[in-house]
Amino acid sequence: MTVPIKLSMMVVGDQYIWGQLMAGAVLATVPITILYFLGQRFVVQGLAAGSVKG
């Protein structure tokens, strides 16, 4: 199971356990944030190259 499936399975019926849902969401963003800061240089460069090339 991947993260989105797991988080949506934590909702039972109309019962949202907000604290744990949001804690899960925060945890799931951590790896993405780390990766982004590692590759930020390339993201900015790619945006510039893409905007020039159209």
Binding site: I5, M22, A25, V26, L27, Q45
Partner: protein
């Protein structure tokens, strides 16, 4: 040259609005995760009165969320790696080499890109079940690949077109060892010369 004050004020006001729209949900997510259940359900506060990590502990220990994060990470990494390799070679071959049906392969990639994704779900599900891959991470990787490879191939085709072929011709003409000239016009050396400009610097 500086723009007039009114334009600068409008620009910053719009930017502030966008920042607000992005930041408020993030703020809400983090504060909700840190609130105690009393703060969440009984009396409302914007900032958690007693910040707690009990939700994080519960979500990791009882629900085992780290496994799910690892699964997501594995699917995303494998998909990215395979996409880069496959679509770089595909785009290069479509742009540089002459063979029958080359234009139509390029056109079909565009058709796949234009096709609404929702139309594919039923048939993709049937294919995954027929392959016996139901409820596996492998099936998810394959499904994502069918979305990402055409897109990346199309983007890279545009990029490879922008690199002058003269670069490769020069490489072929000036290669000193005849053994590095391959039997087909420039198979190895053209890749060697045209792929470096596409790398991130």
């Amino acid at each position: 040259m500086r723009e007039p004050l009114s334009i600068r004020v409008t620009t910053y006001a719009l930017l502030a609005l966008f920042v607000f729209m992005v930041a408020v949900p993030l703020f809400w997510m983090v504060t909700t995760a840190l609130k105690t259940n009393k703060d969440l359900y009984e009396d409302f506060t914007y900032l958690p009165r007693h910040p707690t990590v009990q939700h994080f502990v519960r979500v990791i220990e009882r629900d085992g969320l780290l496994t799910n994060i690892w699964n997501s990470f594995a699917v995303a990494s494998v998909t990215t790696a395979v996409t880069v390799v496959v679509s770089a070679f595909a785009a290069f071959s479509i742009v540089r080499y002459k063979y029958r049906g080359r234009e139509w392969i390029g056109r079909f990639i565009l058709f796949k890109y234009v096709l609404p994704t929702a139309m594919l779900f039923v048939s993709l599900y049937a294919i995954v079940v027929a392959l016996g891959l139901g409820n596996t991470l492998k099936s998810l990787m394959l499904t994502y690949l069918s979305f990402t490879v055409p897109f990346c191939t199309w983007m890279l085709m545009g990029y490879f077109r922008s690199i002058p072929p003269e670069l490769e011709e020069h490489a072929m003409a000036s290669s000193r060892r005849p053994s590095s000239r391959s039997p087909w016009p420039g198979t190895s050396s053209s890749w060697r010369w045209s792929s470096p400009p596409t790398r991130p610097r």
